[in-house]
């Protein structure tokens, strides 16, 4: 299992991203679309974490004396994913706020009802 841990996590990431994308593009309910988007970003984040995986590696934290005790996984993707999570959070929060406002306006969550602008 350890041998393929990286690939498994990576596969999960891709599957989630694709599924999220499917949800975003197929659901008419805007809340569900946002859920799809969340799943999509989660998938992407998992891919990021998986990229930094090194077989047999542990968290990149040194011991109290400041010595490396074991093989580390890459700290960079771990740092990047933190940023990515926060961005995803900000975007999701904004989308939800938009949907709330739109709902107040037309009392509908169906994306097809919001086509006032076109052509």
């Amino acid at each position: 299992m350890d041998q393929y841990l990286g690939q498994v996590v990576m596969a999960i990431g891709f599957i989630l991203a694709i599924l999220g994308l499917y949800g975003l593009l197929s659901q008419k309910n805007m809340i569900k679309m946002i859920l799809g988007f969340s799943i999509f970003t989660t998938g992407v984040n998992i891919i990021m974490v998986a990229i930094g995986y090194v077989k047999g590696g542990t968290a990149p934290i040194l011991d109290a004396e400041g010595n490396a005790v074991a093989k580390f996984v890459d700290p960079v993707p771990q740092a990047l994913v933190l940023t990515s999570i926060v961005i995803g959070l900000g975007v999701t929060a904004m989308m939800l706020a938009y949907v709330m406002k739109l709902y107040q306006d037309k009392k509908s969550l169906n994306i097809n009802d919001y086509k006032d602008l076109k052509w």
């Binding site: 991203a17 994308l21 975003l24 593009l25 008419k28 805007m30 679309m33 988007f37 999509f40 970003t41 992407v44 891919i47 990021m48 990229i51 960079v76 993707p77 990047l80 940023t83 990515s84 961005i87 900000g90 975007v91 904004m94 989308m95 938009y98 949907v99 406002k101 739109l102 306006d105 037309k106 994306i111 097809n112 919001y114 086509k115 006032d116 602008l117 076109k118 052509w119």
Partner: protein, 1045 residues
Amino acid sequence: MVGPIYIIALALGLAFFLGFFGKSAKTLSVYLMLAGLAAMTCISGTWLSAFIDGSVSTQEIYTAGFKPPYSINLRMGLEEAAFTFIINLIGLLGGTYLFQTLKKAGNAAMSVFIILIMSLNVIVMTRDLFNLFVFVEIGSIATAGLILLDKESKALQAGLKYMIATGVISGLLLIGIIFAYSFVGNLNIDAIIGANLAGTTAGMVAAFLIVVVLVLELKPFPANGWGLDVYEAANPGVGALVSAAIGTASLFVLHKVLPMAGESFYPYIVAVGVITFVGSNLVGTQQKNANRLLGYSSIGQLGLVVAVIGLEPVLGTSFKFIAFALIINHVLAKAGLFWISGIIRKANISEWSVLRTKPALLISFLIFIFALIGFPPFPSFFGKYQLIMNLISSDNIGTAAFILIGSFAEGIYMFRWVGDALKNEVAEDATESLDCGKLNKVLPVLLMAVAVVAAGYLSIPFVDGAYSTYFIPLAFIMFIGLIDSFLPAVVKNVVSIAGMAYFTYVMYPIIEGDLMRSIFFGIFMIGGILTLIPGFAKKGKREGFYPAALLMYAGLATIITADNTFGFFFGWELMTAGSYFLIIRGKRSKAHAYSYMLFSVAGAYLILFGFGFAYQAIGSSLLEGLGEIKLLPTLAYTALAIGFMTKTASLGLHIWLPGAHGEAESDVSPMVSAVLLKAGVFGLMLLFLNMGDNGETILYVLGWVGAFTALMGNLSATFQEDAKRMLAYSSIGQLGYILFAISMMTTLGWLAGFTYVLNHFMFKSILFMVVGGIVVATGTHDLYRMGGLIKKMPLAFIAVMVAMITMAGLPPLSGFAGKWLFYNAVILKGWYIQGVIVFFAGTIAFMYAYKMLHSIFFGQLKDNHRNLKELSPAILIPAYILIAGIMYFSVFPQDVLQPINELLVSLNLGDTLTWAADGNATTVLSNWNGNAVMIIIVTTFALVLLYTMLITGKTKKLEQFNIAYSAERPFRPETTHYSHNMFAGLNKAIGFLVAPGITSFWNNVSTMVMDFAGMVRRIYSGNGQVYAGQIIVYIIVFYFIALGK
């Protein structure tokens, strides 16, 4: 100097600081925000000026105290300085513009605003891929926030669509970035570029994802519905930011990151850009909503720059100039237009006529539109010229053609808009919605207008063949424009005539010794002064007239004096713009000016296209290149010929002329008819002299076109009831003769051509001046409403009669000289059938000459014309000066034709004419002597006249009402008029020849384009989910085309 990092620190510190105020101190907050933006502008501005001085070199800014790639680094070089300066300046002016809106929205909105500008700075400066991603996201979120400034439902919808779209693409960007990191082990952009990421399949996919997302940030057609909605729904002040600032930053990022995908990827970016430019502009032709239209235009312009970015390897050293000229032009013009839109507050472009109540804004509006279409003297003109030259030089002919097509499509909607603004009725309550009381809204617009002109001037050193002297007449015109609204027309007329006279004096030495140019220069400049004189008869201020007229004449002079294709094209476009503004002044000229402009712009692009081949041939812009074209010469020469023929209004390209000339103001018609059309003739002559053997077929075809143009023009003229339209059609016919004559490419043919050119200039000036004056005096265009004016206006009658005799080619006047040369030429050339057609057309010319002369001056004087007086001396004096010219040319034709003959002999055209000392001209067929003909005819005429006067001494004069009427009045009185439908029989017989088939052909073309655009734009269904799906489709299609091997 202040480090660029302080731009970030300052903006963020300020944004956070505004949070202290909560909901209070809003005014102070706006001022603080503006101060912050001003400081940011200053920082990047000082860097920019230091880079221009050369006093600093490119700086790398390391953060965290570690060198890259271990930490994030920023770069400040010339390009970064320029781009951040533009962005910050737009931010500062945009913030100023939005002062009231931001104040109302509160401190949070101000924080968002300043953070948006800051993020764009970082996007430009950063050299770290992930950092780029973070700040792109900041930019997107801040934009999504600013879209809501107006808190309307539409803005909300647009904002959500925007968020969904950017959310999807940023996720994909992240996948690309993280894999790029995994392959290269680095996030530094330079390191990734150096590592040949695209070398492996997976690496290429990663690079593809990164690049395609950055392309998608630029809203490529057709996956851009979400972007269009933002432009339409957001506050125009935000639209300006999205288009000008964000668009600029995104372009820079694409340029920065594109090398990751490797050389082989560039052509696809070119395709993306060109498709966007053409597609967006085509679909825009159906759009009537001002902000959405600006959105289409923005996306199109950004697409053009995307194409240029993809062309970097092709364009070489010109790349930076071309890209920057197009960007700065887009930024200044588009920001200005969006801001005007926010002041006008009219969604439908047809209501923009309200602009006319604010002249400064109207002029700015015109400057922006003409800058966007690429007219001189704006930077896009320089950029586009150099772009087309380089493209054709590097054998990218298709790309050049598509770019010109896209530019034309943009012209379709932009000039419709200009027409609406200039001509539509201003509704009474229209000014109520105007929001121009605030200086902070108007000032940024005016600044942009000044800046775009200045940017044009600064472009001069970068283009081969551009001289700063081209701007001298423009400066004079600007001066006239400044005094335009203060002084009466009389004063401006004197100043304009003096200016033109001085300009002629200064410019003449440049062309002295070149006979062909001297003749045309004489027509343009002397003609210009003479046609300005009738303006003394006009009252009031005539705002806009003098700048337009001088613009046209400056253009004409530049065409003649230019020694290179750039100068020629510069003059050509100035002339087009000036004449457009003259033509559109007519009361019912909106549609005619529009079609004139469309034909002119299309023609100009064909000329530019043809010039590209000349540039390719000799590697420089000199006109000599026209004779050296080796690459696709037939295509190049055909393009040039058609381009010039749009101005000579040859058959098929003539439909704009009758309306444009017929409906123009009385003193504009002679300018655009007698003078302007000769520009096309000059172009054709220049072309024919350079075509060599490659032009045989073209000349043959043009000969036929000329013959049919002559026939169609004259025939149509006979069927006109409108006096000025009759003259307009007659111009088409006359230009047909000229085209036919010079297409023969023999000495005699060209002599005939020159004779026609000079004659047409003189008699058509006279006719349009005098008939135009009569139309104003009688208050009608219709010939059957005139009559009997010979007693009221004897001097006008004589002028028209002399002009008519010249036009009809009757001896003894110079028209006959033209005919005589012409028939000799035709016979020697052997173009018999064409010659017969032209001969037939010449006969028809008698008919309308007679109809006009009779209808206006003979017959019954109309009741309401009983108090008319002779025309103003302002009209008669130039007319009689021209009559003197005709007389001189008729009596002493050798003075003019002999030097031309020598010139033509030196050009080896064959079929020559020999002159004897007594003025006797001989060809191998016959001989002719102008002096003798004149003496004989005048003597005969005098004898007949004398005899007639003797025998008529005793007759009783018949008064007008000594005629018995029957007791009834016809239902349509004009049907009883002698000249109404005068040539009905002829019409029945051969009228089908002038059936409006050509007009309906062009109508069908335009309907087809519009229908196509209407069909394509249905992809913008308005559904945010569909838009996201389109993005995915775009990526998939792009991938399988570019990488799916």
